[in-house]
Symmetry: C2
Subunit: 325 residues, 2 copies
């Protein structure tokens, strides 16, 4: 499993390749939330989401033989693009298994980044991990899982190292850190990084209503699944259940999960447009939505929200800003 040392090593491999994303703020958002709000803008990461970090971390850790054979990833889109871009930069062939109902932009971008895209039917119940493992075996590819994978978790954890430094520079040593959560790769990586570097910063996962497997798992103490894994605009964070590697970390280090509605995610997108000048996708806006619209569930004078991605179609973005900006 990932450790603080693995995160530090991944951060070293990422240096000069991944962007150190800024921590943004606006007095207008502080006023809505009733406390200072700092937004870690991972939408500004290469490929438009934090997933580039995990992809780069995993591929840069591969041996020569594995690199020659190529890699495979399954993803609703952001992990796909992250792995595709990292693979291309390393000269490694990438096959990406994507749900046919993923946003068109994400499918197109993954192809444009040089990967071979294979589509499957998410809504029809095909299990991507089964298809993915079969495909990997058949072609001799190394599978880079989207979250339940130590080097991926370590790469995502580099976000936590940056948060610790940036929060310290802002004079913040005690705060809740809200993270948009699917399978828990980023959430567990950030939690491990903060445990090592800034124990006063406590992570809380945020999910969309109806897809709150992590919140329910944390509450019950056992891994719980979602009834559905499609049918939300928050496509980036719809996963079946927390991972076997990520869940014990979430359980040990995270505070209770928070849940926001799709409408709240759209409102957070509009406010990020208006006040921070960044583009967020719905799944990348749920943590900011929780910070802004559920202040009573949060403790402390400051809150940090990780804005995880910005790969959104123009039509959906227009819906957010025409309704709420």
């Amino acid at each position: 499993m990932s450790s603080f040392e693995m995160i530090q090593a991944a951060a070293t491999r990422l240096r000069g390749h991944a962007s150190v994303t800024p921590m943004l703020s606006s007095p207008f958002l502080d006023e809505i939330a009733g406390r200072r709000v700092l937004v870690k803008a991972e939408c500004l990461q290469h490929t438009g989401s934090f997933k580039f970090r995990g992809g780069w971390s995993a591929i840069s850790a591969l041996g020569e033989a594995e690199r020659t054979r190529g890699v495979l990833a399954y993803s609703s889109g952001n992990h796909a693009q992250g792995v595709a871009a990292a693979a291309k930069a390393h000269g490694v062939a990438a096959v990406i298994l994507m749900p046919a109902d993923a946003p068109e932009l994400k499918i197109d971008n993954t192809r444009a980044l040089g990967a071979e895209v294979v589509l499957y039917d998410r809504a029809g119940g095909e299990d991507r991990s089964v298809i993915g493992q079969a495909l990997a075996q058949e072609r001799g590819l190394t599978l880079i899982k989207p979250y339940d994978e130590p080097q991926v978790i370590a790469g995502q954890g580099s976000v936590g190292l940056e948060i610790a430094n940036q929060a310290k520079a802002e004079g913040i040593t005690e705060a809740e850190v809200l993270v948009c959560c699917g399978g828990g790769g980023l959430t567990s990586g950030v939690a491990l990084a903060l445990e090592g570097m800034a124990p006063g910063l406590r992570v809380r996962p945020v999910e969309p209503k109806g897809f709150d497997d992590v919140a329910r798992s944390l509450e019950s103490g056992e891994i719980q699944s979602n009834a559905e894994i499609s049918g939300s605009i928050c496509d980036a964070i719809l996963t079946p259940a927390p991972g076997e590697l990520t869940f014990p970390v979430l359980q040990r280090l995270c505070g209770g999960g928070m849940i926001v509605t799709e409408e709240e995610a759209l409102r957070a997108m509009a406010l990020a447009f208006l006040r921070l000048k960044i583009v967020l996708e719905p799944g990348g806006a749920v943590a900011l939505a929780a910070a802004l619209f559920h202040p009573d569930q949060i403790e402390g004078d400051a809150v940090i929200a990780v804005a995880t991605g910005g790969n959104v179609d123009a039509t959906l973005f227009q819906r957010a800003i025409s309704s709420y900006a």
Copy 2:
């Protein structure tokens, strides 16, 4: 007049208050431009534009008596917000003279940042500098001009110091630096900073078609004026003419001006949305538009474009992304 030393001093006063904005890139933009494109994202600066730097620089340089009496600024909106926010942080009262046809968002934000807003009729030909100077005298306020003001130029020049460092980190020592240009405060400040720190980076001003006073002034060797200073979506950079302080700097240090159409500015906004996940206003997108759509007018393997601001109404932003994203 401003000097490299004044820019360094301003950068010291700005430290911990202004954001060090990131330099963004995307392989998709590189492909369009046919060379590496680096985008200095000043839309992510406090108040949504680089103007916060000049406002902070000027106000932090005031003496105690001037601070007690208060400041006045005239601005189509970005300088207004920059001065208002900087004044508020220093506990200084601010009166802002704004054109009645400025974007509603900019007027509202300036008021919300605690400034008193006075509107005037730009289209009707009222001269803001005359009104501004009268108002300043009447109330004993210190006028902070939007560009022809040494401490403002010095503050904007801090963008150039950051560009020099960030370009070096990317291995770029020779490149053209395209800057969205109104009166030339940012353009001359960046040019002075680069002269001192990275002489291989050469600044070129970019303007919207029909408002190309700086390009014509550089070509003729004398200050030329615009026939109109309203009627473009690039409201942020519509100024009567280059300044008396800025023009000699532009003349000494800048390459020829570039000119883009409104449609190109809108297309650049859409591409910044899609590929960089940032929000640009039309006037803040003209440099990126020049980098992407006029590659034949640019020399070198890399180009740096300063994306100066993101204060755009939702309606206009929707127009850009629905047409071109």
